[in-house]
């Protein structure tokens, strides 16, 4: 009986958390996409510097990781494909897996680690030092002032990073293709491009847009709900990373199922 009531209460907690996320996401979307056209300008300069942080500065580490992931994928695929004498299908396997699944997912995880955590830490520190309260007493919405620029930056940068990650993954795969599967670099790239349908890329991008909403909302919500004291900022940051990774995987699963059945029709 106790188990059932515990299950019930944690389900309710989970649902109310999702509710807060949805409400924050909706308000952030309003201040990013609607309010600027009603005479409440967005802090564009802040959004640009945020985009530099979230996007451009993530490129080196993201490139390295996705290059390796591409190479690993090629090795793992070749292990099976070799038995069927179909080693040349490695290019297809890497290209499709990267752009449908791993490109968006790995990008999201790198961005959670770099930016989702930073959102929570920045907003959490501002909460602890009463800066969020100060914004409210000055009649400035913290959502518009702090969350909206981050949302815009993520909205622009995450899809770009995802495409970049796809390219780097394919290049990683090509290293194996050229060294072990009798491809030339040009032929490998050509084979990858030929194997990709536009749909493979757009499904990845749809996912990455959903990840933007998830990562920004979780990072900012954790920051805004930081309690008193410096150690709470650390807790918020950890929570932001753990919850973002979990929710990104859930969102990923949901859309993969959706695209699987939509693609079969």
């Amino acid at each position: 009986m106790e188990f059932v009531s515990q299950l019930g209460s944690s389900t309710l907690d989970g649902l109310s958390y999702l509710g807060s996320l949805a409400s924050l996401g909706a308000r952030a979307a309003y201040y990013t996409l609607v309010a600027p056209f009603q005479g409440k300008p967005l802090r564009l300069r802040r959004a640009v510097s945020q985009a530099m942080d979230t996007g451009v500065r993530a490129l080196p580490i993201l490139s390295l990781i996705t290059f390796f992931i591409g190479l690993i994928l090629a090795l793992q695929a070749a292990y099976e494909l070799r038995r069927f004498g179909a080693i040349s299908a490695v290019a297809t396997a890497v290209a499709v897996t990267m752009s449908r699944e791993l490109g968006p997912l790995i990008t999201a995880i790198v961005v959670i680690g770099r930016s989702g955590s930073a959102f929570a830490a920045e907003i959490g520190t501002m909460k602890v030092s009463e800066e969020i309260d100060a914004l409210e007493t000055m009649a400035i919405s913290p959502i518009r002032f702090l969350v909206a620029p981050k949302f815009l930056a993520m909205m622009v940068m995450l899809p770009c990073l995802t495409i970049w990650a796809n390219v780097m993954g394919i290049l990683g795969g090509s290293l194996f293709g050229v060294a072990q599967a009798d491809f030339t670099l040009v032929r490998y790239i050509q084979a990858s491009i030929d194997s990709l349908l536009l749909r493979d890329i757009t499904t990845g991008l749809v996912k990455s847009v959903m990840f933007v909403i998830t990562i920004t909302a979780v990072g900012c919500l954790e920051g805004l709900s930081t309690g008193a004291g410096a150690e709470q900022v650390g807790r918020s940051t950890t929570q932001a990373v753990v919850k973002s990774i979990f929710l990104v995987v859930v969102v990923d699963l949901f859309f993969t199922v959706l695209f699987f059945f939509a693609g079969n029709q």
Partner: protein
């Protein structure tokens, strides 16, 4: 802000009135029915120990906490019943100086002070620049607009925060623990600044503090709250000559009576008669 200089303050019409204000966090009620008025141009100091509810009172007055019951009238509007838009309108007429300053670390001092003007007015940049210089001059920080908050000392941060609170020419200025964490000389400087604002601009000022010396220096009237209730409200002279035990204890800095025996300690924790302790033994 300048209206106070031209027209003498009317002592009758209050700028801020509280009627039976109650505030709760969840189940726990922090303020149990607070009522008082603040008239134009006066400085009210809210005194109280830690956990007395004085900070909650201040947070409620600036709209950071919602009252669970009662009324807060500012400018003819009840804060407890306003919409978000009306609340924002009221907030443009009040200024708040936070305990640690609460300056935005990613902006310079100048950008901090200019922020409310940039957000709420359509003034030209050159006009904002002039207002900014003026506000910084008022708090004695001229020439510091390009510093970041991290480069300022504690006292300067508070001054910058006051400049930011003054930016929109508020009608009521709130201070949370203005001298907390400052050495006595710097703290006296902040008191001097508050007195200056009062003298020069006839501003209505509400200060929350537990620093007695500073309170007696700046206050016109004082309000002592304890455990969420008003204990005393009066002028500084009335407070000084008060014979109320709780007021005397606070002003004379008498510690809570020491607890000696185990039962006394239990009584203090549970606030019940020790008899209740022995009666629990009958259970089962």
């Amino acid at each position: 802000m300048t209206t106070g200089q031209i027209l003498p303050a009317s002592p009758i019409e209050p700028v801020l009135s509280l009627r039976n204000l109650r505030v709760s966090y969840g189940e726990r009620e922090i303020l149990h029915g607070i009522s008082f008025d603040v008239v134009r141009g006066e400085t009210l100091v809210i005194l109280g120990g830690s956990g007395s509810g004085k900070s909650t009172l201040l947070r409620t007055l600036v709209g950071l906490e919602k009252p669970s019951a009662g009324e807060i009238w500012i400018k003819g509007r009840d804060l407890a019943k306003t919409s978000a838009e009306e609340m924002d309108e009221i907030r443009r007429k009040i200024g708040m100086s936070f305990q640690g300053g609460a300056l935005f670390g990613s902006m310079t001092v100048g950008e901090n002070v200019a922020l409310p003007l940039r957000e709420h007015t359509r003034l030209e940049d050159s006009t904002i620049e002039i207002i900014l210089r003026l506000k910084l001059q008022q708090v004695g920080l001229e020439g510091f607009e390009y510093y970041t908050p991290a480069q300022l000392s504690g006292g300067m941060k508070k001054r910058a925060a006051v400049a930011r609170a003054l930016a929109m020419d508020p009608e009521i200025l709130f201070f949370d623990e203005p001298s907390a964490g400052l050495d006595p000389i710097i703290a006296a400087g902040i008191d001097e600044l508050i007195l200056e604002l009062k003298r020069a601009f006839h501003m209505t000022i509400i200060v929350v503090t537990h620093e007695l010396a500073s309170a007696f220096l700046i206050a016109d009237r004082m309000l002592l709250i304890d455990k969420g209730n008003i204990v005393a409200l009066g002028t500084t002279e009335e407070m000084r000559s008060s014979t109320q035990p709780r007021v005397r204890q606070f002003l004379d800095r008498v510690a809570e009576p020491e607890v000696s025996g185990e039962l006394d300690y239990l009584q203090m924790l549970t606030a019940e008669r020790p008899a209740a302790y022995s009666s629990t033994g009958k259970r089962g």
